[in-house]
Symmetry: C2
Subunit: 424 residues, 2 copies
Amino acid sequence: MSILIKDSIIVTQNVSNEIIRGDIYIEDNKIVEIGKINIEADFVIRNRIVIPGLINMHTHLPMTLLRGYGDDLPLEEWLTTRIWPIEAKLKAEHIAIGTKLAFMEMVRSGTTCCNDMYFFEDVIANEAKKFGIRCYAGFSLIDFDTPEMKRECLPSECENFIKKWKNDELVEPVVAPHSTYACSPETLQKAKEIAEKYNCFIHIHCSETRYEVYDVLNKYGKRPLQQIKDNGLLTEKTMLAHCGWITKEEVKEIALANACVIHNPVSNMKLATGGYTPLPELMEANAIITLGTDGAASNNKLDMFETMKFTALIHKHHRWDASIVKAQEVLDMATVNPAGFLELNAGCIEEGKLADIVCIDYKAPNLTPLHNVISHLVYAMDAHNVSDVIINGKLILHERKFLNIDEEKVYEEAEKAKEDLLSE
Amino acid sequence: MSILIKDSIIVTQNVSNEIIRGDIYIEDNKIVEIGKINIEADFVIRNRIVIPGLINMHTHLPMTLLRGYGDDLPLEEWLTTRIWPIEAKLKAEHIAIGTKLAFMEMVRSGTTCCNDMYFFEDVIANEAKKFGIRCYAGFSLIDFDTPEMKRECLPSECENFIKKWKNDELVEPVVAPHSTYACSPETLQKAKEIAEKYNCFIHIHCSETRYEVYDVLNKYGKRPLQQIKDNGLLTEKTMLAHCGWITKEEVKEIALANACVIHNPVSNMKLATGGYTPLPELMEANAIITLGTDGAASNNKLDMFETMKFTALIHKHHRWDASIVKAQEVLDMATVNPAGFLELNAGCIEEGKLADIVCIDYKAPNLTPLHNVISHLVYAMDAHNVSDVIINGKLILHERKFLNIDEEKVYEEAEKAKEDLLSE
């Protein structure tokens, strides 16, 4: 497939943060040329703001099926009376439809790559491949039986999962020990062993709630990050979701290890986890900061534009300082920062990069007039300003329509899956 | 014009918060019938979530022209180096185009009524009438010359403005003394006199920033709310924008006076004004709470769905309590609360009410599956899920297109106005 994007405003996100007016030519899965281009192509797109595809670094994709099922409840009640009873009923077919729905929502709102962690991760990986989206697929290790299998099967199945997906073009297998409160030291060490053996990324929840910090402190005499470190999991391959209750010392530890922080402001605020992922301190320490939506049950969207706005605003508000986190810095957290950490040849628009690209139709009331493109991306976007999405050189969304998906059918199947999960 | 909405989920927002499946028939400017209806109509709309139009209670409409012009700056620097120098250049033609753009953005995101405060308010009122949107138009009284006229002309021109618009079907003139820091006691008293004479609503900024509170305290020996009260402006016709820095005593005063609080969380957070409009205390005191976006220069959108989500989340987060402000309560703040305060025969969907109605196309990834309509409205909506908007019985937006506006022309004119304002 070849695609020509003409007469557009290109937010390159290259090292100089250049914004250029011009054309982009894409062939196979790469950006071949940027400039003034006259060439035939299978698809021609015109007059757009063009940005690198956004990277959503913390998702539980199939939880779209639980969107709006139990809001406004205290965390404990939400988990025990709503989420866990339904999750226990999950079967592979539910996972498949919930995941497809999540991909649609993410692509619709400009996301081209996600970093997931859930059960039935092989089903999720299969859906990603079918859909054509880039997916870091985290196989969960946890000290409970999952809806998919007995706990004792998890490590060996994790290895099988990694072997199956290790060289896929779109799916990258990730080892995902759930957290220090749901994994014993033995499980954490097993995760480390597997991750090292196959050179995998590690995805783990860390200090999401104050309760969690004190729970782990009581059980093991140390805070979650120390527990992660002492079990060999604080490495330059480690992605730490949340970090809402980390200390200044822990900020330094994370930066020193070149681990990656995933900030999920919308989910944290909605679940009232308290605390503030200390963005200014993490930035000061040159830590790698990225963003995620978390699952749709606690967000309740998978919209990275919204997440970028919440990120900027919550920290300005908290520090009484409108300049503390700037639009450009937030956009970096959703593009170049995660791409750099993941060693993904994307996250910016340059010749030779993977063609993971989002086109925005800026002839819209909320994007007019155009004083500052970066400001619009972070503060003024609606998901539906996105018109076209290209992943790995393939046009997935064109003029706001999915090229290869029967949308109505997905909505019907998702409703059916919901009914099925709610029935006795 | 007659409109029939068929086979829809109707969020009535009536006293029992009923959600019913059925049809709505609209004729002239009223909701004639709700139920199972078979009748011919000029327009038929099918299979929607139908809600009362949202009411945006604090806007500075023409500031759309300054959207994204100076973000991430401390408030003082933002005002003195960005906003005020541009505002000084504003002419009637800029106001007209900026206002039209604001109406498009608001309608596109489900707003059918706004409460504005700016300069050139007669131009704004004219645009509202032409556009067909309901507008409470606040004529600003302030102790400076405005871009429109000398300060000494303001009171008499305010009276002329009120006389001109007093009996309009869509526009309601409002007296808008800017604030206690920009209005002397004499100006506040003049505002009171005019508002009483013509039985007008009063719209005033109150305790937006900590600086403002101490500034007024230093100058007059009392806090802004006391200054408002002592000058006769704390009445059941008074709308207090922001209230981010009010005390528990002031909460009681406001509730006792039956005045209305307008909470603007997005703008407050973006400008880093600090403080928290004390929603739980205001709710406890049975105060009238409503929501606004503020101007597009500080938001940078005019999207009430986004404002509802921010409202719920900021207070959950601040109080470490996911149940402290619930979706239904937030939806009320954008519909029945302001309608009740304004004595507007709208804000809910009942026979005999004004037909200010928004239709939402819920066949969308972000609104699937449908566990809970109210949750979706507050936590999962995108502006562009709105498909049709009816104001005063007229269909303004149909299948996501404006029926009587050349959209491209507005965008072009807005860009031209921007260029004009930026040129020397």
